[in-house]
Symmetry: C2
Subunit: 208 residues, 2 copies
């Protein structure tokens, strides 16, 4: 199909598609003349994925570029998942060294109990260390006291995540499915959690 049809099919304006092409998010079409190119179903599919990651996942164009590069790479699926997970996990706040050591102890202890493993400079560990330090700095000890309960629930949701991944897709789409599951699955769960919090508040305090 031509650019105009690709735009109609995907529901994305031509100018936006050209921007994604320039930014390397979308592979070039097959050139049929100096001014024209042909696009296929894989372009429609990729555009839908980009839109989901940007609009629903709230990812920046730079992060989407990293994620689709990982999806397109020839690396083994689980290695690609690691790259995607890193791209999806951002944590930029600075943490003082002495706080870091304490927080790494808290996170490391939980990881041992739950059989979680992570290497040095893992961005997920950075996120956890920074978040734990911030919670302490704000004086919300109660949240730290309950941290093990959240870790238990995380194990449950990870089982659901892997069951979902296995149920749904062929190997050639498993990396895309994992990215969608991570980005949209987080948003879905965020929404459920908010509704459940409101309902639980109403139950306990008879409001609402």
């Amino acid at each position: 199909m031509r650019m105009a049809e690709l735009s109609a099919e995907s529901g994305i304006p031509v100018a936006t598609i050209k921007y994604y092409l320039r930014e390397g998010l979308l592979p070039a079409g097959e050139r049929t003349s100096p001014n024209q190119a042909r696009y296929g179903e894989e372009h429609v599919r990729r555009l839908k994925l980009i839109r989901a990651l940007v609009e629903v996942g709230g990812l920046s164009v730079a992060t989407v570029r990293e994620v689709v590069a990982a999806v397109d790479s020839d690396r083994a699926a689980y290695s690609v998942l690691g790259v995607a997970q890193r791209a999806l996990t951002r944590f930029d706040a600075d943490v003082p060294d002495e706080d870091r050591e304490w927080a790494m102890g808290v996170v490391g202890e939980l990881a041992r109990e739950h059989g979680w493993k992570f290497g040095p400079d893992n961005p997920v560990a950075e996120l956890l260390v920074g978040t734990v330090c911030t919670i302490r700095a704000l004086g919300h000890q109660a949240l730290l006291d309950q941290i093990g309960r959240y870790a238990d629930i995380a194990d449950r949701i990870a089982q659901a995540d892997l069951d979902t991944l296995e149920a749904g897709v062929s190997m050639d789409r498993i990396v895309e499915a994992a990215v969608v599951g991570t980005v949209l699955g987080d948003r879905l769960f965020e929404g459920f959690r908010r509704l459940a919090q409101a309902a639980e508040t109403a139950r306990r305090y008879s409001v609402g």
Copy 2:
């Protein structure tokens, strides 16, 4: 304390503090001369909260302004929580009308089963409807098939959230605690979920 001490105490540069004052995130200090003002512990505390919401929670300055305005308002705690929850939930993608109707049915059915309630134009419902539509458009039916399992886990985590809130704080800080719990608690759980996913992947496929 003076501006320089407030900066030293909170670890936030003077220029940034002045920006927060101008933007209405931080209440003005008590003026002691035309060029000087005095700040108290409540300013240190508020600065830590702002930094946590911006750096760890990834919120925009505009969203932080809405959230702290809700924290500062004289409204009842549970009404403030509703305002904060709305400010914290952003969903901007457009959804076609026929998809919306179907997705609202899916979300409404889950809400009935779980005792969740929401009014028209609730931003959390918008988030869920949009996410469900996007997942379907991408063809990830397996994720929709498992949606009830995620909803069950959300009920569990909401119980942990409310227990945490009740354990920790006096009423005058409960709104702040709920905001911290929501923003930082989401980030914490996101990190745990990633580590648990990696461990579950390794267990099932003997990799890593």
